[in-house]
Symmetry: none
Subunit: 224 residues, 2 copies
DNA sequence: GGTGTTCTCCCCCGCCCGGGGGAGAACATG
DNA sequence: CATGTTCTCCCCCGGGCGGGGGAGAACACC
């Protein structure tokens, strides 16, 4: 435990120099390298194994988002965490950035104390966003239905449950589904109940929302 | 502009006293009141018009989540923003709490500097979460793919019908919508019936399908 | 044989929802 | 003033749905 090892990624040398100077005097944090673009960053992460990467977004050759995706890919198994630095919080790419696997999202004009805190929190496995980004994220999150069951894709559904699922997300009632599959309505209700449990939702409306939000609506899979 | 006015809500007098002392010496922040439970808090917000409320979760008579929902209801039009304080970040109610309309979510063991920063950020219209909560939120958010398409064809809907529509397509029940819009359930049912007629559908499931298929699921439809 | 899963269907209950009607108040428009 | 629209809320009713349980048959696996 000889401190938090950070890698600085930015295409502007002056920005890299500035960031390096921010962390120079701080105890327990050591800058182990700098990369001028995303492609180099991915390579340098493999080589240097830093704990935290400070990642710019706009860069030549490969941008920071793609680089972050690669660094955070499970295959990479690097343990490295990424803080994305940007100049714009109104950017429509904020949400995309949050899906890359990054642990932090800060504005470049954040005070140095925030940068320091972010590095320490992220190294400890936590996460930190700029307040304005937090506000946008909460706003976005609040309008989503509560589908708080992690990772439950359709893989755990049995064949029959999948049959019912397909018809349900088309807007059919239990009665209609029973008729189409030539089943008793009780049987359909039984399968539907299991769907709720496995998908972690409350009612058929939320099943439909779940399906759309997870890109599971594939018209090729659905009967006429 | 004589400073940020805050209201402290907690059922434990010692906690209230502690919070009050935290903000006592800080410039530009003044504690204008204390409330021992949610019901009183809602009343005190109407009376005192604070800028920021520090809200405990577990309280008698009315808990902090319901109180926050009411304070943040659009009809209330208070401009007051709420920071929720809790002892548990592993609580499964974290996500629910984020849907109440709160602007912040902090652990009670946060350092006083964080509490101060949170009050100032939230008063400025931003938002702030504890790092561990941020991590959970990002994790939850990252699992969701997102569609964004410009919409149309909602022009026949009245303002109020559109309000109901927005909440309906998020998977909320009539009862929930009534609570959120501070209406009678009968009124919501009435609007919902009109939605069915105008959109030419049979039930709420088909409203959701209609919305997705026509690219009407767009965050611009929802309050910022 | 025992265990487990899946598929089928049944009972119960309570509530939410769909569907019909009406009605008063506010407001704009003519 | 009359008309129309919107928003609010009420009544009624029946049926669909959510949620709990149980149970038998077929099949696979060990």
């Amino acid at each position: 435990m000889d401190g938090i090892r950070i890698l600085i990624v930015d295409d502007q040398p002056l920005v890299r120099r500035g960031l390096r100077s921010v962390f120079e005097g701080l105890p327990g944090i050591v800058t182990v390298g700098e990369s001028p673009d995303g492609l180099d960053a991915v390579r340098d992460v493999r080589r240097l194994r830093p704990d935290v990467v400070l990642m710019d977004v706009n860069m030549p050759r490969m941008d920071g988002l793609e680089a972050t995706r690669r660094i955070c890919a499970p295959e990479e198994n690097s343990g490295t965490r990424v803080i994305i630095l940007t100049m714009y919080d109104r950017d429509e790419h904020v949400f995309e950035a949050l899906r890359t696997g990054a642990s932090g999202f800060l504005l470049k004009d954040s005070p140095t104390s925030t940068l320091e805190q972010a590095v320490r929190e992220v190294a400890a496995g936590e996460a930190l966003l700029s307040p304005s980004v937090t506000r946008r994220l909460i706003g976005e999150f609040a309008r989503r239905p509560s589908l708080s069951t992690p990772g439950a894709e359709l893989s755990h559904l049995t064949d029959r449950e999948l049959d019912v699922f397909r018809l349900l997300v088309c807007g059919h009632s239990n009665q209609e589904i029973a008729r189409m599959l030539v089943l008793g309505e009780s049987t359909v209700k039984s399968h539907v109940q299991h769907l709720y449990q496995k998908l972690g939702v409350r009612d058929r409306v939320q099943v439909v929302i779940y399906a759309y939000e997870n890109g599971l609506i594939d018209r090729r899979l659905l009967p006429a």
